[in-house]
Structure formats: structure tokens, C-alpha cells
């Protein structure tokens, strides 16, 4: 039976395998943005799936994506604590540019690698907000639940992250042009 009613509640909960099929690409992408390293991302996702599978029977089935990302983030933090290793992130100095020409170029020429590199240069809290809301399309409520923070906090992180990103992309294009 592909779906079951969970412990008499009215929420029908899919099988865990079905959830893995649906959510795995998202978890992997979020893990890569979080760890900035594909090997570490794979480790974190693997452990996340293991922990989620173990507690699937106790999970109420609501907001599964937020729940999985919450496990993923906690696992990432746990691994950092264990290895006393922080991802090396340096935020380059960014400049706000006024010339209209840069923005015309951005619209036409930005390549995906430059955009991802700019996202990866954001501090972790902003990077995660942008990755969840603007890449993965989570609502602000879902992202707030996944990160265990208030909606006000996700709003401010998202806005700050977008503004930094906007400035970084302008800066990247100005270097290409000159």
C-alpha cells in the first residue's frame, strides 16, 4: 500500500521511500550550499536520511521538507562540532554600482557558475535563506520552520542575503567588463 494513515490522524503519510525520491535532489542541493563541498554534502545527506528513516514512524507527516532540512542542518552543525572545522567562507568586499550598463550586462550575460559562486560567498545564515527560499522555492514559513527561527528573522536574512548577492553580481560583472 503506497500510503498509510498515520496513527489514526487524518494526515496520510507517504512511504519514506517515496519521500526520499521526491526530496533527495533538494536535500542534496541544500547540503552542497551548506557545506560548500560535495563529498561532505553527500555524508550529511546520507546521515540525514538514516536519522529520518529511524524516526519516520514518530513523525506526524506535516511539513516534511522543513523537517528533513531541519535534520540536515542539525547534522551539519553536529559534524562541524565533531571535527571542530568550519567551512571557509570569505565574504569579498562588495560594491554597489550605479552604472546602468552593468545591469544590462548582468541581465544578458551572467552565467550560472558565477551566480552559484556569488551565493556560496554569502555568510552561511544568508546563504541558507537564499538557497531555501529563492532556489528551492520554500515559503518563508517553511524556511523558518526548517531553520527553527522566526519569520521575522528569515525575512531579514533573506533580504540581507539578496542585497549582498545583488551587489556581488554587479561587482563580478564590473570585473568582467574591465
Amino acid at each position: 500500500m503506497p500510503f498509510s494513515i498515520f496513527q489514526g490522524s487524518r494526515i496520510s503519510k507517504p512511504r519514506f521511500e517515496t519521500v526520499v525520491d521526491q526530496e533527495l535532489p533538494i536535500l542534496y542541493r541544500v547540503a552542497v550550499r551548506l557545506t560548500l563541498n560535495e563529498t561532505r554534502a553527500e555524508d550529511v545527506v546520507s546521515q540525514t536520511l538514516y536519522l529520518a528513516a529511524r524516526s519516520w514512524d514518530q513523525f506526524d507527516g506535516r511539513h516534511v521538507r522543513s523537517w528533513l532540512i531541519q535534520i540536515l542542518r542539525n547534522e551539519h552543525l553536529g559534524q562541524i562540532r565533531k571535527s571542530a572545522r568550519q567551512p571557509e567562507v570569505t565574504l569579498e568586499e562588495v560594491h554597489e554600482l550605479s552604472e546602468e550598463g552593468y545591469w544590462m550586462k548582468i541581465d544578458q550575460q551572467l552565467d550560472h557558475i558565477q551566480v552559484l559562486a556569488a551565493i556560496d560567498r554569502l555568510p552561511e545564515e544568508y546563504r541558507l535563506a537564499v538557497a531555501l527560499c529563492d532556489i528551492e522555492g520554500l515559503t518563508r514559513q517553511e524556511a523558518a520552520a526548517a531553520l527553527e527561527i522566526s519569520e521575522g528573522t528569515i525575512n531579514s536574512r533573506l533580504h540581507r542575503g539578496r542585497n549582498l548577492l545583488r551587489a556581488q553580481l554587479a561587482h563580478a560583472m564590473s570585473e568582467d567588463i574591465h
Binding site: D21, R29, E42, L110, I113, R166
Partner: protein
């Protein structure tokens, strides 16, 4: 008629949240109307909204495709044994 100078700069401080919501499509109803109306009248907010939309569009188009081999490995990982218990 433009009510503000058409110059580069931050958006009006009371508009920033609404402009973000207008840019990502989460503003609905009167909020959307108000944000777009203001951006249509105010040079700085209009430019901020245009560039934010451009940035978000670039971000959405850059959504990476995960390595299929990594996904295959993860699909057959140790979690499978937990689901059989």
C-alpha cells in the same frame, strides 16, 4: 509624474519589505498593488525592484542539477535498512 529623484540608491526604507515580496511574487492583493504603484512612481524603488527581480531570476536559473551518481548512491544508502526493520 515622478515623485522622487531618479537616482541610484537604497529604496525607501518603509518599502523594502514590500519590494522584496513583490519581486518574489509573495505579495498579493493590496500589498502587491501598493508596492508596484510606489515603484512606478519612485525612481529608486523602481530601480531596486527591477534589479532585485533580475537577481532572483538569475538565482532561479542557476539552480544546479545534482550529480546523478551521488543521488544513486544516496538512494541505496544505509537508511534503506532502517525502513526494513
Amino acid at each position: 509624474m515622478k515623485l522622487h529623484e531618479d537616482t541610484e540608491g537604497p529604496p525607501c526604507s518603509h518599502m523594502e519589505n514590500l519590494l522584496h515580496q513583490a519581486a518574489d511574487g509573495s505579495a498579493k492583493g493590496w500589498k502587491k498593488w501598493y508596492a508596484l504603484s510606489h515603484a512606478g512612481q519612485c525612481g529608486r524603488c523602481g530601480r531596486f525592484l527591477d534589479r532585485l527581480r533580475m537577481t532572483l531570476s538569475a538565482v532561479q536559473m542557476s539552480k544546479p542539477v545534482p550529480d546523478p551518481e551521488a543521488l544513486d548512491r544516496l538512494k541505496s544508502g544505509k537508511w534503506k535498512e532502517e525502513t526494513k526493520k
